[in-house]
């Protein structure tokens, strides 16, 4: 076992799919795929093909517009039929531009030129290749790999390849490690070499025996991999979460506002490392991914390799179809994945798991009761928060206090929710609070900007006013000075007027040191 064990969390038995030892089934391309232009965090790619155009598998159909983006490629050969916005399973239900390709069932494919000289690449050249091959984080978050590589610390001492697979219902990373162990190891070697990391660790859930033995075999077979460590992690949720992983492997405790790179660590998912290797060594773009179809809501849960853009309905069909009491469809893990309104949603790069749950696995009749402060949520919280107090603040509309109590540290793992005897939807409330806090922060930023602009305007106006009054005074002074010598003599004036003028001159003199001398 490696390093320190984080506090909180819960021992979770891995999914049966993660420990089975079956070959991978490859799902043939469906009659039409809808490839989303946004399958990653960041900026959507822009379509670069037109309706009616023929494309080969691996051909670029969407171009990354900035560095926080990734190219998108055709996942089958065929003809582009439609380019339109579609619902893609985003929790808010927002639509994403998708390219619909009618697959011709053929096997035309194109690759990028392989880069056998990858040892000579620097991180930016490697990042460019990863962006061109559309590589993003395949562990679910789908952060563009190129952006992660390009922003890595110059002193990256540790590279962690994440095979923690700690969600109780997912198993695609386990399948990648088991069946593509050599790609994972080669990817780890390559990324570690390009980043000049002193330590390269493949961290694997200790309960995944087939995956572990495959990685050990692959490491022994790869001549460059002698320095790679394969480290076993406890079968503990949320061990796969970045902060917990970095703590266990590298003994670094990241603060709420820190990323691994701030401590010289970089984390890639095992499937990402394998895909990066294939993109470099074979020039393959990311056009398919391994997905587990899990849960008792499907008849034959299985692990599939799926062309991106395949509707989830096709995956369920390949898994024997829906069981009678299928009640909920989830994209991702059971702990934090969003539930989907329907199954006509395409598989994207981040879709590592499709979960169909039966009513028996959910107990839908649970009612939420008041909190009795039993403290179970605090016991399991990996961020060592007091979820019940934070949620009480959020429910009372007091986001500021919730933040004071550590809302920013919440990693939305959902454990508190699963242990609550009062069945309070804690994760829902925490996410609500995080949303409120984000809105409040942006409103505060806006208010700060407005206030600064207001102060600046006041200062500017004051300056102008001062300037004007200074000039006015100067002009008056000049006028008086001009008039001074030509002032009418006192003798020619009535007495009263002469007295007033004398008084005024006296006043001017005392006001102004170098004022005009009246007489």
């Amino acid at each position: 076992m490696a390093g320190a064990r984080f506090s909180g969390g819960a021992a979770i038995e891995p999914s049966p799919l993660a420990v089975e030892d079956r070959p991978l089934a490859r799902l043939p391309a469906p009659s039409r795929v809808y490839v989303p232009m946004l399958q990653h965090q960041g900026t959507p790619a822009r379509p670069c093909v037109g309706v009616g155009q023929r494309v080969a598998r691996g051909e670029r159909i969407g171009v990354a517009l900035d560095e926080y983006s990734a190219d998108v490629h055709a996942s089958c050969s065929g003809v582009v039929r439609v380019i339109a916005a579609r619902e893609c399973g985003h929790p808010s239900g927002r639509a994403v531009t998708c390219i619909g390709i009618d697959c011709d069932g053929g096997d035309d494919f194109v690759t990028l030129p392989p880069l056998p000289g990858w040892r000579q690449l620097d991180r930016f050249e490697l990042a460019a290749r990863l962006q061109a091959a559309g590589i993003v984080g395949l562990g679910g978050a789908a952060f563009p790999a190129a952006a992660k590589l390009a922003t890595a610390s110059l002193d990256t001492h540790t590279l962690i390849v994440n095979g923690a697979e700690s969600d109780p219902c997912a198993g695609s990373d386990a399948a990648v490690m088991r069946l593509r162990g050599d790609d994972v190891v080669a990817g780890a070697v390559m990324l570690g070499h390009v980043l000049s990391a002193r330590r390269v660790v493949i961290a694997v859930n200790a309960a995944l025996m087939p995956a572990l033995s495959a990685l050990h075999r692959a490491r022994a077979a790869n001549g460059d991999a002698t320095d790679i460590e394969v480290v076993e992690l406890p079968a503990h949720y949320p061990q796969g979460s970045e902060r917990q992983l970095v703590y266990t492997v590298a003994s670094e405790s990241l603060g709420a506002d820190e990323l691994p790179r701030d401590r010289g660590v970089l984390v890639f998912n095992v499937a990402t490392a394998a895909a990066a290797w294939r993109a470099v060594a074979h020039g393959e773009a990311l056009v398919s991914r391994v997905v587990t179809v899990a849960g008792r809501g499907v008849r034959e849960p299985c692990t599939l390799e799926v062309p991106l853009g395949t509707p989830i309905a096709d995956l369920v069909a390949a898994a024997g179809g829906y069981a009678e009491d299928a009640r909920r469809l989830v994209a991702g893990g059971a702990m934090a994945g969003p539930s989907l309104p329907h199954d006509d949603i395409p598989v994207a790069k981040g879709t590592y798991n499709v979960l169909v749950l039966s009513s028996a696995e959910l107990q839908l009749d649970a009612v939420d009761m008041p909190c009795i402060r039993c403290g179970e949520c605090a016991r399991v919280c990996p961020s060592r928060l007091l979820p019940q107090s934070i949620v009480a603040d959020i429910r009372g509309g007091d986001t500021a206090t919730a933040i004071e109590r550590g809302l920013d540290d919440c990693i939305e793992c959902g454990l508190c929710d699963t242990v609550c005897p009062s069945h309070i939807p804690l994760l829902h409330w925490l996410r609500h609070g995080i949303g409120e806090a984000t809105i409040a922060a942006s409103e505060r930023a806006l208010a700060d900007r407005s206030r600064m602009a207001h102060h600046a305007r006041n200062a500017r106006l004051a300056m102008l006013a001062e300037e004007r009054s200074r000039r006015l005074a100067e002009r008056e002074r000049a006028a008086l000075a001009n008039r001074g010598p030509a002032a009418p003599s006192a003798a020619a004036m009535p007495d009263v007027l002469a007295a007033a003028l004398a008084k005024a001159r006296a006043g001017l003199r005392s006001d102004n040191d170098n004022g005009p001398s009246g007489s």
């Binding site: 934090a336 539930s339 696995e361 009795i372 060592r384 007091l386 699963t418 005897p421 069945h423 994760l427």
Partner: protein, 339 residues
């Protein structure tokens, strides 16, 4: 295309419910209650049933008054736990109106008037007990049998509870607990060996000791099932041992042994079932250590210098009042804020 109802993550079967937690607490109270019933007569069971009836009655009326759904709250099991704990605190032959007023204070005032389940700052059973203890000190301290005495049966118990009169020929032994006798005699300046010779408490171990062991058994089971945080009973018992040992070593004639402290009165019951009440106790892990230790210290103080033989209820209520403060200063250090 098949459509689904969407829902919030996590998508897992819910944890054991509040009601099952409450029922587990009751199950854990059963062995101790049965031992007490064997020792003191079936009045113990009669009181549990009587208090439960009153508790549900008061709960139902208060829920209706507060406009809360009866279906959701009446049978959540929390009233049952309160009633049961209260019943174990009062003598088995206490008249029925003790149970009635106790439950009115516990459920009506301490719990529902403060907002119901989860909102009570003070442990309801202890509020009820302190109220009847202060109002009717005599009725609440007539404990009846000592070992070897005749134990009243069901009919006699029910009759005594309804009429408020003890069974014939029993007034002579309206016994006191060993703690009461000790408290009384030590106040007169007697030493412990002299007190041990007192006719009223010879033939120990007293039934309280046996039921204490049975309650400890149930309580340990709750700790194993993680219904009760083990820190609370451990800190109470550890606190008693830690604080009562030095004076006992210094002068065993005037100061009771820690074991004696633990096995007398309702200390074990309180350590596992009352101090561990999450609603009115401390909520953080470190806070629970403090809460239990503070409770132990207060119990010893009340036993040594208080006007009542046992001060458990007062100690609990005082610590309940301190709990929010304890929580405030014992919040765990967050991940990433150093170790």
């Amino acid at each position: 295309m098949r459509t689904f109802e969407t829902a919030q993550a996590p998508h897992r079967p819910p944890a054991r419910s509040l009601r099952s937690v409450m029922l587990l607490v009751c199950a854990a109270l059963l062995p101790g209650t049965l031992v007490q019933a064997v020792m003191l007569g079936s009045g113990v069971i009669v009181q549990v049933l009587l208090c439960t009836t009153f508790a549900l009655l008061v709960e139902a009326v208060m829920l209706r008054l507060r406009g809360q759904p009866l279906s959701r709250f009446l049978f959540d099991g929390s009233a049952l736990v309160t009633a049961w704990l209260f019943a174990l605190c009062i003598p088995p032959l206490a008249p029925w109106w003790i149970a009635a007023t106790g439950m009115l204070a516990a459920i009506g005032m301490a719990k529902q008037a403060f907002g119901g389940l989860g909102r009570n700052p003070f442990n309801p059973a202890m509020v009820g007990y302190v109220l009847v203890l202060l109002c009717w000190p005599l009725e609440v301290s007539r404990w009846g049998a000592t070992p070897g005495d005749w134990v009243p049966g069901v009919v006699d118990s029910v009759r005594a509870v309804i009429t408020g009169a003890f069974p014939g020929g029993w007034d002579a032994v309206t016994g006191a607990t060993p703690l009461t006798v000790e408290h009384e005699l030590m106040a007169r300046g007697m030493t412990l060996p002299e007190i041990q010779a007192d006719a009223r408490i010879t033939g120990s171990p007293h039934p309280a000791s046996w039921s204490a062991l049975a309650f400890a058994l149930g309580g340990l089971a709750l700790c194993a099932l993680r219904v009760v945080d083990w820190r609370t009973p451990l800190s109470v018992i550890g606190g008693i041992v830690l604080l009562a040992t030095p004076p006992w070593i210094l002068d065993g004639d005037l100061n009771a042994s820690p074991l004696h402290h633990l096995l007398s009165g309702g200390l074990v019951l309180a350590a596992f079932f009352i101090a561990s009440d999450p609603v009115s106790g401390a909520g953080t892990a470190r806070g629970r250590w403090l809460f239990g230790f503070g409770f132990a210290a207060l119990v010893l103080v009340f036993r040594a210098w208080g006007p009542h033989p046992d001060g458990i209820a007062f100690a609990i209520l005082l610590m309940n009042g301190l709990a929010p403060l304890i929580d405030r200063y014992t919040a765990p250090r967050r991940f990433g804020q150093g170790r």
